[in-house]
């Protein structure tokens, strides 16, 4: 943090200005955390169900779920919006964290399952006699939580190490991650893999002794998720505000130049990538006790694409925008899939196209444009030509360079 660092964002470069903290960004994140972490749980548990201030159990669970998505979105924004690496396998990391938590919850059922066995129901059903070795230790909460972070971290590290070292970047990297997603999903669909096949893990009873059906347990989980979102935001904000963060954004804009400045892009990408994966694991671990199930459909390739959409809609490279995007898109999804079940995907498609064309910087950019008094329409028509080239999510992986002058793209990767 240098004193010479400018404190005001430059509106004409919304996409890039996003790299430096907007004042209200942390406010937005803070308010979201306060609402999710404190206000909603308190209003759920405190006032009597008849009171006008009471918040329903359904709503608490919904918000808890959305907040988990918010964590994923922030993690995605770190690696995509700042480090310029578009991942289409974040749902896998999310699901891995979820499975780790699910394994603990399965073990915590004890003998209360349908078959009254110490083994999880699906193993009894498959006629397994004993626990597979990799289920050992998951009866302990601390171990399971550690695994929820470590497993996605290790998978991401190994995968990322080879991909980044081979200089697989841009669209190619995204395609490879998508393939990883598909492979992981197929693996988890198999009964023999030992995670419950396509039914996944479900029918959980309690967490750390607290019954999951109790509204108070759910309110507590919601509060913890809110706190986790706050910590995730703070961590990512710290990273991008550090000198390492500036190297990451520089790498996004001109990777070759970063290399010739003496940095090893592999290390920086790997760092952002691994941290991001671990945060997804955390989100997955918080998600599973709240929704009560984890199965391989969480790993669908489309789930990973949706994560990218949340971030694009909210605003890449803003963190708070990613949170808002996750809430907005998923909130709309919860509502629309009930109200118009068949139209949901059309809505998502239209939303994505409109955002890409009209506000390539995401809703955050259009807000900040309004706040700064720049007429929204002027901004739209004035900036469209320049920004469209840079900010389409498809091209975004290759780093936005439109205002970077000629030459930025010139010295990019050699074949």
């Amino acid at each position: 943090m240098s004193p010479a660092k400018p404190t005001k964002a430059v509106p004409t470069l919304a996409g890039f200005a996003a790299a430096r903290p907007l004042h209200w960004n942390s406010w937005v994140a803070g308010v979201v955390c306060l609402v999710v972490g404190v206000i909603i749980p308190v209003l759920n548990v405190g006032p009597s169900p008849r009171s006008a201030f009471h918040i329903s159990d359904f709503f608490v669970t919904l918000v808890g779920k959305l907040t988990c998505y918010g964590i994923v979105a922030v993690a995605m924004d770190l690696v995509w919006g700042y480090a310029g690496v578009l991942s289409l396998c974040h749902a896998v990391f999310f699901a891995l964290g979820g499975y780790a938590m699910g394994m603990y919850l399965m073990r915590a059922i004890g003998t209360e399952g349908n078959y009254r066995s110490l083994l999880p129901d699906f193993m009894v059903f498959l006629d397994w006699k004993e626990l597979p070795w990799y289920w050992e230790g998951f009866n302990r909460f601390g171990f399971a939580m550690a695994m929820a972070l470590i497993v996605p971290g290790v998978v991401a590290f190994i995968f990322g190490f080879f991909a980044f070292r081979s200089r697989i970047g841009g669209v190619y990297f995204s395609i490879v991650t998508q393939a990883l997603t598909y492979a992981a999903m197929l693996l988890f669909f198999r009964n023999a893999t030992g995670f419950g096949g396509n039914n996944g893990l479900t029918d959980f009873k309690r967490i750390l002794g607290y019954p999951l059906r109790e509204p108070s347990t759910r309110a507590a989980l919601c509060a913890i998720t809110g706190l986790a979102l706050g910590l995730t935001y703070a961590l990512c904000r710290y990273i991008i505000g550090s000198r390492a963060g500036r190297v990451m954004t520089a790498m996004r804009d001109a990777e070759a130049k970063v290399r010739f400045s003496g940095y090893d892009p592999v290390a920086y990408k790997l760092f952002a990538w691994t941290v991001s994966a671990m945060l997804c694991g955390l989100a997955g671990a918080l998600y599973v006790p709240q929704v009560g199930i984890i199965n391989p459909s969480e790993m669908q390739p489309s789930s990973s694409v949706e994560i990218a959409i949340w971030v694009a809609v909210g605003g890449r490279g803003t963190l708070a925008g990613a949170i808002l995007g996750a809430f907005l898109v998923n909130g709309a999804k919860s509502w629309l899939t009930v109200a118009f079940p068949t139209a949901w995907l059309y809505f998502l498609g239209v939303l994505f196209v409109v955002v890409t064309l009209v506000v390539p910087g995401g809703i955050v950019e259009s807000f900040s444009g309004l706040l700064k008094g720049g007429g929204f329409l002027t901004k739209y028509f004035g900036g469209l030509g320049v920004k469209r080239a840079a900010a389409g999510p498809e091209t975004a992986a290759a780093a936005p360079v439109s205002t970077g002058g000629p030459g930025v793209g010139e010295e990019q990767e050699q074949p």
Binding site: S242, R243, V247, F260, A267, T403, P406, G407, E411
Partner: protein
């Protein structure tokens, strides 16, 4: 005394085209060398070889007695070889100050940088560099908003602040005004001695005014080497390049 940089018998082919053909080039510490040659002579490829962007098919590159032929780009930078690209490459989303901060001399590892603060020395170096390249007043502007000339300046500054022992400068005056060219001459001439400077340039007037020693490349090999006045009168050189 063995040379600071030795490029020995290097050959590079791209799909059968020999960009460099058995090229040998030695540089003494502190010298200011100009490399000239027609398009396609292999000037930029030579830079790529020295900085590790391209690997030679045959031959070695030695810097201060160390074989760097297979080193990665950032490792070569760490040894003290800096490069300025042909077209200005700055970090458009960062301010001028941050651009210099990013290229500052110091540790470059991700965990160190996560907690690194600018030291007083580094800050001083940045301020000194800002002054040298005349961008002090623009320190808080985004580099993407600078003019072409200013970007060139900034990039030279970004190179200088790395405190390289060897500076590779690719066409530093392309697109510059006469005034800017003169300032660039001053800077580069001032650097020689303390640093070894290699300049690749098309602009012969510029070369004439700064060069102590000139190497002429042609079709991937050294055609002639020596003082500007000698080289200029070399019939081979006149034929392929200067006479044209």
């Amino acid at each position: 005394m063995s040379a600071q940089l030795q490029v020995d018998k290097v050959t590079v082919s791209f799909d059968g085209f020999r960009a460099l053909n058995d090229l040998t080039l030695h540089l003494e510490a502190g010298e200011l060398r100009c490399i000239v040659g027609p398009n396609g002579a292999g000037k930029t490829t030579l830079m790529d070889i020295i900085t590790g962007k391209t690997r030679p098919d045959v031959g070695t590159v030695t810097f201060e007695g160390k074989d760097i032929t297979r080193f990665a780009e950032h490792e070569i930078v760490a040894l003290g070889i800096g490069r300025k690209f042909q077209r200005p490459t700055v970090f458009p989303g960062h301010t001028v100050f941050e651009n210099l901060e990013l290229t500052s001399h110091g540790p470059k590892g991700v965990f160190k940088m996560l907690f690194a603060r600018l030291t007083a020395d580094q800050r001083q170096a940045i301020e000194k560099t800002l002054e040298l390249i005349g961008l002090t007043d623009h320190a808080t502007r985004l580099a993407g908003l600078l003019s072409h000339g200013q970007k060139q300046w900034l990039e030279i500054g970004m190179l200088l602040i790395q405190q390289p022992k060897l500076l590779l400068v690719d066409e530093p005056v392309a697109g510059m005004t006469q005034q800017e060219i003169e300032r660039t001459e001053e800077i580069l001439s001032g650097l020689a001695g303390a640093h070894t400077v290699v300049v690749v340039e098309h602009d012969m007037d510029f070369v004439r005014s700064i060069a102590q020693k000139v190497t002429v490349l042609h079709e991937g090999s050294v055609l002639a080497e020596g003082q500007m006045s000698d080289v200029q009168n070399d019939p081979k050189v006149v034929e392929v390049y200067l006479g044209a």
